[in-house]
C-alpha cells in the first residue's frame, strides 16, 4: 500500500515535471552554474552607512561628511591612526615620525621608500609639502569683520580641519631623499603627533600633489613644490593676488567632489588598503583591495560594499534579511530592543565621544558660587542615566569629568580627584542649606526638539524645584537653540559637546577665558595659565597631569556638571568576525582590516 502510494506520487511528479519542463527550449542556462564572476578568496563585507558618499576629498568643509571620512580612511594611509582605546598608534610601515628636538620642537616625517599611489607615483616630499601648505593655511590672507563677513584677502584652501597647529611651523624643506620633510615649530605644539591629521576625518596623506599640480594648471609636481617654496606667506595686512595658488585651491576645493565614480582615475587615487571600484550614486559604493598596498595593517577581505540606508528600522531589517553584514544605526531604545531580538547577530553597545552637559552662567542668578553649587547638588545624574541611557547602553554611568571621557586612560584619575563625588547623589538638603531660604529663578535653555535633552530638562527641573529653585522652561526649537548659545538670555543650558578623544587643542576652545565655545563666561586665570602650558606640552603623561589639574579647577569653580556620554550601538552578522566597537566618528571602520568572512 505504502509502496503504491509512493510510486503514485513519483508518477505524478514525473508527469508534472514533464509538463513543466520536458522538451523545454534551449535557454542556455543549464550549462552555466551561476556565480562565475570570480569571487576571490577573502570575500566581501557589506557595511551600511547613513549618509551617501559625496567627495573623494574629505578635508574640505563641503566634503567633511562622516561617510567621506570613512572612505578616505579605507583608501589612504598616514603616519598615525587612532585605536578604539583612543590612543594614537604610529604606522611605521608607512613612514616614520622622528622628534629631532623637543624645544624648539622639530619633527622629521619620512615616508618609506616603496609607498606609492595607485597610479604608481611614489608618495613623497611633494605630497607632504602640499598637505602642509593646506593644513597650515600658509597662503591665506583673509581678514574678517566682527560679523564674519570677509573684508579683504582670500582663504585659498577651504580646509575643514584646524590650521592652528601647522601654522606654528615655518616653511619646511624637503629632505635630500625627496621623501621627507622637517617641521620646525615656533613653539612646542602639544598635538604634533596628529598635526598631519589623525585619520579621523582628515585622512593622513590623502592629497596626491602630482594630480593637484596638473589639474590646477601647473606643469608638474616639481612646479608645485617650487611654487610653495618661493611664494611668500599670506599676510592679512597686505593681501595679494595669487592666481596660481587660487587655481590650485579651486581644484582642491571642488575637483574631488563627485557622487559617481569619475572617468579620470587620478581623481580617486589610493595609497591605502582599498580603492574605489564602483559607485551607484546615493545607493552604494564598492571598494576593492589595493593590490600594491603593504605599508600598514593588511585587510583580510577583498571587497567592501558600502550601502546607504537612512532609517534605523530599514537597516535592521536589511541585516536580518542577510542583505548587509554590519550596521551602525542611530542608537535608540527601540533599535537596541529590535536588534537584541534577532538571531545570528552580535550587538555591541558603548559610548560615543559626544556628551551632554549642564552649564551654569557665571553671571545673573548664578553669579554666586553657592547658588551654582546648590543647583549642581540637585541634578539627578544617576536618574538621568537610568531613564535615558541605560535602555541603550546598560553599562552606562554618569560622566564624572569635564575633560576626559570614560574611554580614556586618565579618566579614573581625574574623576576621583576632581571633587565630582560630591555630586554623585542628589542632595536637596545640602542645596537648601546653601540657598538659605532664597528661591532663585533659573531660566534653563535646551534644544526641545531633542527628546533626550527634553527628558534631561524635565528631570533636572523637577529635582531643582524641590530645593526651592524656580526653573523656567527656556527650551528652544532645533533651529534656534544654537544661535542662542552665549547670548545671555538664559541662566543655564543643557547641550552636547564632542570630545575628539585625541589631542588637547579642544580644551582651551571651551574653557579658556573669552574663547569661541566658552558660552557661560567661565574664567579662571589659574586654569588659563595651565591651558597655555597644556598646548605647548608634548609629553602625553604631562598633558594628562595638567588636564587633571584643570579638571579640578573647573569643578571647584562650580562650572556646571557633565551628565552622560551619548550611547552608540552597532551590530553585525555572525558571518563576519573582527568587528570591534569604536567610540569615535570612525565607528566600526577603525579596524576594517581585521574584518573577515567566516567560512
Amino acid at each position: 500500500m505504502r509502496f503504491t502510494r509512493t510510486s503514485r506520487a513519483v508518477g505524478v511528479a514525473a508527469v508534472a515535471a514533464l509538463a513543466l519542463s520536458a522538451c523545454a527550449a534551449d535557454t542556455g542556462t543549464d550549462s552555466s552554474d551561476g556565480g562565475d564572476d570570480g569571487e576571490a578568496t577573502g570575500g566581501n563585507v557589506r557595511v551600511v552607512e547613513v549618509n551617501a558618499f559625496s567627495s573623494f576629498n574629505s578635508n574640505t568643509s563641503e566634503g567633511n561628511v562622516d561617510i567621506n571620512g570613512k572612505i578616505a580612511y579605507a583608501t589612504h594611509a598616514g603616519f598615525v591612526y587612532v585605536n578604539n582605546d583612543l590612543e594614537v598608534v604610529q604606522n611605521e610601515d608607512f613612514g616614520t615620525m622622528e622628534v629631532l628636538s623637543e624645544d624648539p620642537l622639530s619633527v622629521k616625517y619620512t615616508v618609506n621608500e616603496d609607498v606609492k599611489w595607485s597610479d604608481g607615483e611614489p608618495v613623497d616630499g611633494g605630497d607632504l609639502l602640499l598637505t602642509w601648505a593646506i593644513g597650515s593655511g600658509y597662503f591665506d590672507d583673509a581678514k574678517t569683520d566682527d560679523a564674519g563677513e570677509p573684508v579683504s584677502g582670500t582663504t585659498y584652501f577651504d580646509y575643514a580641519g584646524d590650521t592652528s597647529g601647522l601654522a606654528l611651523t615655518e616653511l619646511p624643506e624637503i629632505g635630500e631623499d625627496g621623501r621627507s620633510i622637517t617641521l620646525n615649530y615656533s613653539e612646542p605644539y602639544a598635538d604634533y603627533m596628529v598635526a598631519f591629521g589623525d585619520m579621523t576625518g582628515e585622512a593622513g596623506i590623502s592629497t596626491p600633489a602630482h594630480v593637484v599640480a596638473e589639474k590646477g594648471g601647473l606643469a608638474d609636481e616639481d612646479a608645485l613644490i617650487e611654487l610653495i617654496q618661493t611664494a611668500p606667506a599670506g599676510d592679512p595686512e597686505n593681501p595679494e593676488e595669487r592666481p596660481e595658488v587660487q587655481d590650485l585651491a579651486d581644484f582642491w576645493n571642488a575637483g574631488f567632489d563627485t557622487k559617481s565614480l569619475p572617468e579620470d582615475e587620478s581623481l580617486y587615487l589610493s595609497n591605502g588598503p582599498f580603492i574605489a571600484s564602483s559607485i551607484t550614486p546615493d545607493q552604494s559604493m564598492t571598494l576593492v583591495r589595493n593590490e600594491d598596498y603593504t605599508w600598514g595593517p593588511e585587510p583580510k577581505v577583498d571587497e567592501i560594499t558600502v550601502r546607504y540606508i537612512g532609517e534605523a528600522p530599514a537597516q535592521i531589517q536589511a541585516l536580518q534579511n542577510g542583505e548587509v553584514d554590519i550596521i551602525a544605526p542611530q542608537a535608540s531604545a527601540d533599535t537596541v530592543e529590535q536588534l537584541e531580538a534577532l538571531d545570528g547577530i552580535t550587538v555591541e553597545q558603548g559610548n560615543q565621544l559626544s556628551y551632554d552637559h549642564l552649564d551654569l552662567n557665571f553671571d545673573g542668578v548664578f553669579k554666586d558660587a553657592d547658588v551654582r553649587e546648590a543647583f549642581m547638588k540637585t541634578v539627578p545624574r544617576q536618574q538621568l542615566v537610568d531613564t535615558i541611557i541605560k535602555k541603550i547602553n546598560p553599562d552606562a554611568e554618569p560622566l564624572d569629568s569635564q575633560l576626559f571621557l570614560t574611554d580614556q586612560a586618565a579618566y579614573e584619575e581625574a574623576a576621583s580627584s576632581n571633587g565630582s563625588d560630591a555630586y554623585a547623589e542628589v542632595d536637596i538638603e545640602g542645596a537648601k542649606e546653601l540657598l538659605d531660604g532664597a528661591t532663585p529663578e533659573v531660566r534653563l535653555m535646551y534644544n526641545r526638539d531633542n527628546p533626550n535633552r527634553l527628558n534631561s530638562y524635565t528631570l533636572i527641573a523637577e529635582s531643582a524645584a524641590k530645593a526651592g529653585f524656580k526653573v523656567v522652561d527656556g527650551g528652544l526649537g532645533a533651529s534656534d537653540w544654537g544661535a542662542a548659545l552665549g547670548n545671555g538670555t538664559y541662566d543655564a543650558t543643557i547641550f552636547g559637546w564632542i570630545n575628539s578623544g585625541v589631542g588637547v587643542a579642544g580644551v582651551p576652545q571651551i574653557f579658556k577665558s573669552g574663547s569661541g565655545s566658552n558660552f557661560n563666561g567661565f574664567s579662571s586665570p589659574e586654569a588659563d595659565e595651565l591651558m597655555n602650558e597644556l598646548i605647548v606640552t608634548t609629553d602625553e603623561a604631562e598633558q594628562d597631569a595638567l588636564q587633571v589639574q584643570i579638571d579640578k579647577l573647573i569643578w571647584d569653580s562650580k562650572y556646571g556638571i557633565p551628565l552622560f556620554q551619548v550611547p552608540g550601538v552597532d551590530a553585525y552578522s555572525d558571518n563576519i568576525s573582527g568587528v570591534e566597537y569604536m567610540p569615535n566618528q570612525m565607528g566600526i571602520w577603525w579596524n576594517f582590516w581585521d574584518w573577515s568572512v567566516v567560512q
Partner: protein, 513 residues
C-alpha cells in the same frame, strides 16, 4: 481653445513664481543650517561657521537670496544654451545632476506601481459595479479601504518581514507544510466563491473547485521543487496561451466571432513555435531585443488576423495582436523563471533573493536576465506597498462612475435593442465610465515624479522624495527648489492636460473659447 490654453499657461507661470518664492522662504525658515556648528567645540569652530555662511550666502536675507536663485533658474528658459543653473547642494553637487538622477530612480519605482494600480483598480471597480452589493463588492471594498488606511511605513515593515525575510527563509528550504496548503486552499476557495455569481449552488461549486485547484497546484509545485527551480515549459505555456486567447477574444470580439477565436488560437501556435526559435537567441538579450520581439509578435498577429479575413477583420486583427503580445510576455516570463536558480545562487545574492532596501544588488553585473530579476526582487516590495495603498481610489472612482453609467437611459436602450451584455458593458458603458478617470490618472502621473517620500525612505530608495527630505534636514534650499520646480511644473501641466483631454473625450464639456 488656443486662447484658453495660453491663458492657463500664463496663470501657471504666475502661480509658479509665487509658490516658488513661498517655498524658498519656508525652506530658509525651516531650520538653522549652522545648528551643528554653533554648539561645536572644535578649535576651528568660527572658521567652519564662516565657511558655511559663505557657502550658503547666509548673510543675505532669504527674500533677497531667492532672487539670486531665480536669476540662475531663469537661465533654464533659454533653449539649447545649456546655461541652466539651479544652484548646488550643500555638498557641492549641481542640482540639475541630482534631479535627473533622482527622477530616473523615482520613475522606475513608481511607474510599475501606478500602471498596475490603474489596471487592477479599474478592473476591480468595474467588476464590483457590475456585481453591486454582492459579497465580492463588499469584500473588495473592505480590502481596498483596509489597505488605503494602513500607514504605508507600517505596511512596508510588514511586507519586509513576511514578503522578504519570511519568504527568503522559505526559499532556503522550500517545503510547504500541509497546514499551509489547507489554509491557502480555503482562501482560494473563498475568493473563487466570491467571484462566482449569486446562486448558492454555484458558489459552492466554485468554492470546491478553487480549493481543489489551489491545493493540487501547491502540492504539485512542492513535489517538483518548483520554488527553487521555477519555469513554465511548453505545456504550461500552451495551456496559458489558450486561456489568454479565449479571454482576449471574449473581451474584444466575443466568442461567437469564430474567425477571431481561430486567429487568436493560431497566434498561440505561433507563440509556441517562437518559444523554441527565440529562446536560444534570447541568451544575449537586451531590452531593445525584447521590445523588437514584442513588435514582431504584434505584426504577426495583425497579419494572421488580416489573413483570417471575414466580416470584421479589425476584430480578429486586434484579438490576434493582443494574444501575440501576451504570448511573447509569457515566453519572456518563462525565461526569467528559468534564470531564477542562477540568480539565487549568485555569490552576491547569497540565496536570499527578495530584497528589503535599495534598487539593485551592488556589484551584480551580469546578463540582462540576472539584472532584470535583480530589479524585480528589489522593486517587488515597494511596488506592492504603493499598489495596495493606491488601489482604493481607482477602484472606488471607477465603481461609482460605472454604476452611474449603467443606470443611464442609453444603456437600457442598448439592451432593449438586443445587444449582447458583453457589447453593452465593454462598448457602451466601460468606455464612457473611463472619462472621469482621465482626470484622476493625469493628476497621478503628475504626482508620480514628486515621489513617494515615505516609501522611498523606508525602502532606502534614492529618488525625489529622498532628495527632498535630505535637503530639508540640512536646510539646503537649492535642491528643495529643484524638487519643487519639477513637482510644481508637472502638477500644473498635468492639470492643464487633464482639462484638455477631458474636453476631447467628452464632447459635452468642450470649452467655449
Amino acid at each position: 481653445m488656443v486662447t484658453y490654453i495660453v491663458r492657463r499657461l500664463v496663470t501657471a507661470v504666475l502661480i509658479l513664481f509665487g509658490a516658488s518664492f513661498v517655498v524658498y522662504q519656508l525652506t530658509a525658515l525651516s531650520g538653522d543650517p549652522l545648528e551643528d556648528l554653533r554648539g561645536s567645540n572644535a578649535p576651528n569652530r568660527d572658521q567652519l561657521i564662516q565657511a558655511r555662511t559663505e557657502l550658503l550666502d547666509l548673510n543675505t536675507p532669504a527674500p533677497l537670496r531667492y532672487f539670486g536663485w531665480l536669476a540662475g533658474a531663469a537661465k533654464c528658459l533659454v533653449p539649447f544654451a545649456a546655461t541652466c543653473d539651479l544652484g548646488s547642494s550643500i555638498q557641492g553637487e549641481a542640482v540639475t545632476t541630482a534631479l535627473s538622477r533622482a527622477m530616473g530612480n523615482t520613475i522606475t519605482l513608481v511607474t510599475t506601481a501606478t500602471i498596475l494600480a490603474i489596471i487592477i483598480g479599474v478592473s476591480l471597480g468595474i467588476i464590483t459595479a457590475l456585481r453591486q452589493y454582492s459579497g465580492l463588492d463588499y469584500g473588495v471594498t473592505f480590502m481596498s479601504f483596509l489597505f488605503f488606511s494602513l500607514p504605508i511605513f507600517w505596511l512596508a515593515v510588514l511586507l519586509k518581514e513576511f514578503g522578504a525575510i519570511g519568504f527568503n527563509n522559505f526559499l532556503a528550504d522550500p517545503d510547504i507544510p500541509p497546514l499551509t496548503i489547507l489554509v491557502v486552499a480555503l482562501a482560494s476557495g473563498l475568493i473563487w466563491a466570491l467571484f462566482a455569481s449569486k446562486s448558492w449552488k454555484r458558489k459552492g461549486v466554485a468554492f470546491v473547485l478553487g480549493a481543489v485547484i489551489a491545493a493540487a497546484l501547491l502540492f504539485l509545485l512542492d513535489l517538483v521543487d518548483w520554488f527553487s527551480d521555477p519555469g513554465l515549459g511548453p505545456i504550461v505555456i500552451l495551456i496559458t496561451g489558450v486561456g489568454i486567447a479565449l479571454g482576449v477574444v471574449l473581451l474584444t470580439a466575443g466568442l461567437r466571432n469564430r474567425k477571431a477565436v481561430y486567429a487568436s488560437l493560431a497566434m498561440v501556435g505561433v507563440g509556441l513555435v517562437a518559444y523554441y526559435v527565440v529562446n536560444p537567441i534570447l541568451t544575449a538579450a537586451t531590452i531593445w531585443m525584447i521590445i523588437a520581439f514584442g513588435l514582431v509578435m504584434v505584426l504577426v498577429g495583425l497579419l494572421v488576423g488580416y489573413l483570417m479575413g471575414g466580416y470584421d477583420r479589425g476584430q480578429s486583427m486586434r484579438a490576434a495582436a493582443l494574444t501575440g503580445v501576451l504570448m511573447g510576455l509569457v515566453i519572456v516570463v518563462d525565461r526569467f523563471m528559468v534564470t531564477w536558480p542562477a540568480y539565487v545562487s549568485n555569490p552576491r545574492v547569497r540565496g536570499r533573493p527578495i530584497a528589503t532596501v535599495g534598487a539593485q544588488t551592488p556589484g551584480l553585473d551580469d546578463s540582462f536576465w540576472i539584472n532584470g530579476l535583480d530589479t524585480f526582487t528589489h522593486l517587488l516590495l515597494p511596488t506592492l506597498a504603493l499598489l495596495l495603498a493606491s488601489l482604493a481610489s481607482y477602484s472606488r472612482y471607477s465603481r461609482a462612475s460605472m454604476l452611474e453609467i449603467m443606470n443611464m437611459d442609453y444603456i437600457r436602450t442598448a439592451r432593449a435593442k438586443g445587444l449582447s451584455e458583453r457589447t453593452v458593458v465593454m462598448r457602451h458603458a466601460f468606455r464612457n465610465a473611463l472619462i472621469p478617470l482621465a482626470t484622476l490618472v493625469a493628476f497621478d502621473i503628475g504626482a508620480l515624479i514628486g515621489g513617494a517620500i515615505i516609501t522611498e525612505q523606508v525602502f532606502a530608495f534614492a529618488g525625489m522624495g529622498q532628495l527632498f527630505v535630505q535637503a530639508l534636514r540640512r536646510v539646503d534650499p537649492d535642491p528643495i527648489m529643484g524638487f519643487f520646480l519639477v513637482a510644481g511644473i508637472l502638477a500644473l501641466v498635468f492639470n492643464l492636460v487633464a482639462d484638455i483631454v477631458y474636453s476631447f473625450l467628452d464632447p459635452r464639456v468642450r470649452v467655449k473659447a
